[in-house]
């Protein structure tokens, strides 16, 4: 497995911690941002290999973030995983439309997350 730099974007710190914990346990380096706007700001100076983003966030939601990412040349093809909830059925479609690579429904456990991350990274 090749270690990657992954950005997790979520307005709930707990969620961020959880994802960071799971992914770094698998050997990846994890960065955090509380919403889409902050994430974009961060990405101006730091390069990442993948983004895991929640959908509902203030300032800029996950769908818009995905769209904006796709407009940036260096992130046009970067794997993006969106995190949705059970009742947000249309978010999945929106995410697909925005150009996300994959999705996961929370709550999930570590194994499920790792499995999808692996697939999204193309392993």
């Amino acid at each position: 497995m090749v270690p990657k730099t992954i950005l997790t974007v979520d307005d709930a710190p707990t969620m961020r911690k959880l994802i960071a914990f799971t992914l770094s346990g698998a050997g990846h380096k994890v960065l955090e941002a509380p919403d889409g706007k902050a994430a974009l700001s961060l990405l101006k100076t730091t390069r990442v290999d993948m983004i895991v983003t929640d959908v509902n966030m203030p300032n800029m939601d996950g769908i818009e973030l995905t769209r904006n990412l796709r407009a940036l040349p260096q992130y046009a093809r970067t794997p993006v995983l969106i995190v949705t909830t059970e009742s947000q059925a249309n978010a999945k479609a929106a995410g697909k439309q925005a150009g996300a690579t994959g999705w996961i429904v929370k709550p999930f456990d570590g194994q499920q997350l790792l499995a999808i991350v692996k697939r999204v990274l193309g392993e």
Partner: protein, 723 residues
């Protein structure tokens, strides 16, 4: 203020809905285009918002229902299936209907679109019933959609979207059409005033006047040209409706149709576009309805399942050519003829003699329909005859070609003449008439003394020899049923052209060429085929504009059948018909007597100056068309006096045994056909007998005897051999 806003909304929405439909149709083939999906959503979203603000609540409600569906479409939760697109097209129609109502009355009318809204709501709700995603479940989008590629949509902000209709048009402005028309009229008046000034300046030596006049001339021409351009619009504007039309029709009829449009940028004057809009629509409908076969039928004959309908427009030689063609079953000549005979449009025995062009022309006759069942689409009372008439009303022509079993091609030609045309002004029976220069080939002046000879008659039809070809003549005075005979002075012949056929129009006087403003005749006079409109002359009086095609048709020139009959007759004057009638050339033979010569052997009527008559031995001869032709003086042979030495000789060139002889007569009287009952008179050599023709006793010449009598025959033969 409110009213103005509403008017603006109506106008902008019409364009926006055009775009909406275009995008929907494109979406059918290009399903993932997020730009399209965003745009169609935004169009309706915007329409909803604006209608709400303007208290147009019915519109708002309908738009809202559609917007919800479009939102789902945009999110990828609905697929743009054929059914969905059809529903959305109907949704667009519903919006248009209410908008039209608003445009006309300022209010929304009574239509609630309840059924349509219900349908849209059902679609919306049908797709929200998706099962909630299970916790922990995850996946790649490419799992669902193997072809899914991560699209690279632009940033979300609504304002940075694909160009709205209107942003591209920053270099264009809206102008009320009525305003343009007013400007057109004023320019027309300016042209007339300019014409007058130019005329006056022409009579003056005043240099101070001439220069500004020239400038005025130039500026006016340019102004005219440029104003005309503002009225030009691309034919694509009319074609824009066709993709939808074709789609709807093909679904309804169960046929597969591919529409291709070439030359959409070709420009035409606005009024012409307006006039051909319906005919073109009808032709496209026809091509799909009657031309193209069903997929099964096409497969059976080895054609690709999808039928082709091709629209093509181009400029060619001062005309616009528009073609509608299809690769369908073509036109069945026999079927058309059968129907035509059935409808008494053609006599049964004539049927086989008609050319393909004429047979197809039958399709344009009123009351004609070859469909086995008149479908409710094309048979709506808009027949092919109406198509033809509408096209001809703007000066165009339409014809049909077909390759049975393979294709059909309908060709429309429309002259680019706009409202101001150069014309020749002539006078006939004291009134002035204008003839468009476009139809004028050349002018011929026939001097007073030549009228009798140069205008000849075949079967009572006047003709003129124009460089070897016989040109049928039409006397304008007679056509217009005006009184008085043609002036005894010189006459003028206008060689005119209509659909490739030429004829000569005889008028009293030729006045001027001028640029005239063509004004249409009102409904009370529209039916008169000989007029194309009227114009106001420089002196303020009205003059009528002649319709060359109308005149040609009226005299039967454009009827191929009779024209070819006439041509055949003119070329081969063997007119002896089984009925016992004979065609005769009646000539004056001196002393007030007249004689008849069988027309069958008459080659030509000529006039030779006396200087051309030469002496060869004891005979008079002339050099004629490369040979030496002996002259036989019929007048003298019948006891008349010899011609004066310096007068011209009127000669009937007569073919006898393969040689030409010139029969000298006093003058030509007439050509006619009649039953001949000869009375054998006392044995006078050279005369077969006599009969009463046109109330006069007429001697029937025995030409062979006359020739033999004159002694020229044997002499000539020897002469020729020597050479």
């Amino acid at each position: 203020m409110q009213q103005q806003l509403i008017r603006d909304l109506v106008m902008e929405s019409a364009e926006a809905l055009d775009q909406f439909e275009r995008d929907l149709l494109a979406l059918e083939t290009n399903q993932q285009d997020s730009d399209l999906l965003n745009r169609i959503f935004r169009i309706i979203h915007s329409l909803k918002g604006t209608s709400g603000c303007l208290a147009l609540h019915k519109l708002e409600k309908l738009a809202h229902a559609g917007e919800n569906v479009l939102s789902l479409l945009r999110e990828g939760r609905l697929d743009p299936s054929k059914e969905l697109v059809s529903t959305l097209l109907r949704f667009s129609d519903g919006l248009r209907k209410t908008l039209a109502e608003v445009g006309e009355t300022g209010a929304e009318g009574t239509i609630e679109h309840a059924a349509l809204i219900g349908e849209l709501v059902a679609i919306e709700q049908g797709s929200t019933r998706m099962p909630p995603a299970a916790a922990g479940s995850a996946g790649l989008f490419s799992d669902e959609d193997p072809l899914f590629q991560q699209a690279t949509p632009g940033p979300t902000s609504e304002t940075a979207a694909a160009p709205e209709p209107g942003t591209v048009a920053d270099s264009a402005i809206r102008v009320d059409v009525g305003q343009l028309d007013r400007i057109m009229d004023l320019v027309g008046e300016l042209v007339l005033a300019r014409n007058q000034i130019v005329r006056f300046a022409g009579n003056t030596q005043d240099a101070e006047l001439i220069k500004p006049t020239q400038r005025l001339n130039l500026i006016t021409s340019k102004l005219q040209e440029n104003i005309m351009k503002t009225r030009m619009q691309p034919i694509g504007n009319v074609w824009a409706k066709f993709p939808r039309l074709v789609r709807d029709l093909s679904l309804e009829l169960g046929k597969q149709v591919a529409l291709s449009m070439e030359g959409a940028e070709t420009e035409l004057d606005r009024t012409i576009l307006e006039a051909i809009k319906d005919p073109l629509t009808h032709l496209v409908r026809n091509a799909i309805d009657h031309g193209l076969e069903t997929p099964e039928a096409r497969r059976a004959v080895g054609k690709p399942l999808e039928g082709q309908v091709k629209l093509r427009a181009l400029h060619e030689g001062g005309q616009v050519i528009i073609q509608v063609s299809d690769d369908g079953a073509g036109i069945d000549r026999e079927k058309v003829l059968r129907k035509a005979v059935q409808r008494n449009l053609v006599a049964a025995d004539e049927a086989s003699r008609l050319s393909d062009r004429e047979v197809f022309g039958l399709l344009f006759q009123p009351g004609f329909s070859t469909a086995d069942q008149v479908t409710n689409l094309s048979g709506r009372g808009v027949g092919m005859d109406v198509v033809k008439r509408n096209i001809e009303r703007v000066g165009g022509a339409v014809d049909v070609q077909s390759d049975p079993g393979r294709s059909t091609r309908i060709r429309i030609k429309i002259p680019l003449t706009l409202a101001i045309v150069p014309a020749l002004i002539v006078r006939c029976a004291g009134n002035r008439y204008a003839i468009p220069q476009a139809s004028l080939v050349e002018l011929v002046r026939i001097g007073e003394d030549q009228v009798g000879t140069l205008i000849e008659y075949v079967e009572q039809c006047p003709v003129y020899r124009l460089r070897g070809n016989l040109l049928p003549l039409v006397h304008l005075r007679a056509q217009l049923r005006l009184e008085g005979s043609d002036s005894s002075g010189a006459v003028f012949l206008l060689v005119l052209q209509a659909e490739g056929r030429q004829f000569g129009l005889v008028v009293d006087e030729i006045l001027d060429t001028e640029e005239i403003v063509v004004k249409p005749l009102g409904r009370e006079l529209k039916g008169l085929a000989v007029y194309a409109g009227a114009t106001i002359m420089g002196d303020g009086r009205v003059a009528l504009i002649l319709d060359v095609m109308g005149i040609a048709r009226r005299v039967g020139l454009l009827n191929e059948h009779s024209a070819s009959l006439r041509d055949a007759f003119l070329q081969d004057a063997k007119s002896s018909v089984a009925s016992g009638r004979q065609s005769l050339l009646i000539v004056g033979v001196g002393g007030g007597k007249q004689a008849a010569i069988p027309l069958a052997s008459v080659a030509r009527l000529e006039e030779f100056a006396c200087s051309h008559v030469e002496r060869a031995g004891t005979s008079d001869v002339v050099q004629y068309r490369g040979e030496i032709m002996p002259l036989v003086d019929v007048v003298q042979a019948l006891g008349g006096a010899a011609p004066e030495s310096d007068s011209a000789r009127r000669v009937v060139v007569y073919a006898l045994d393969g040689r030409n002889f010139g029969l000298v007569v006093e003058h030509i009287v007439d050509i006619l056909e009649c039953e001949v009952k000869l009375h054998r008179t006392a044995n006078q050599p050279g005369i077969l007998g006599s009969a009463v023709v046109q109330k006069r006793v007429t001697d029937f010449l025995d030409v062979a005897a006359l020739v033999a009598q004159s002694g020229v025959a044997s002499f000539e033969k020897a002469e020729v051999e020597q050479l």
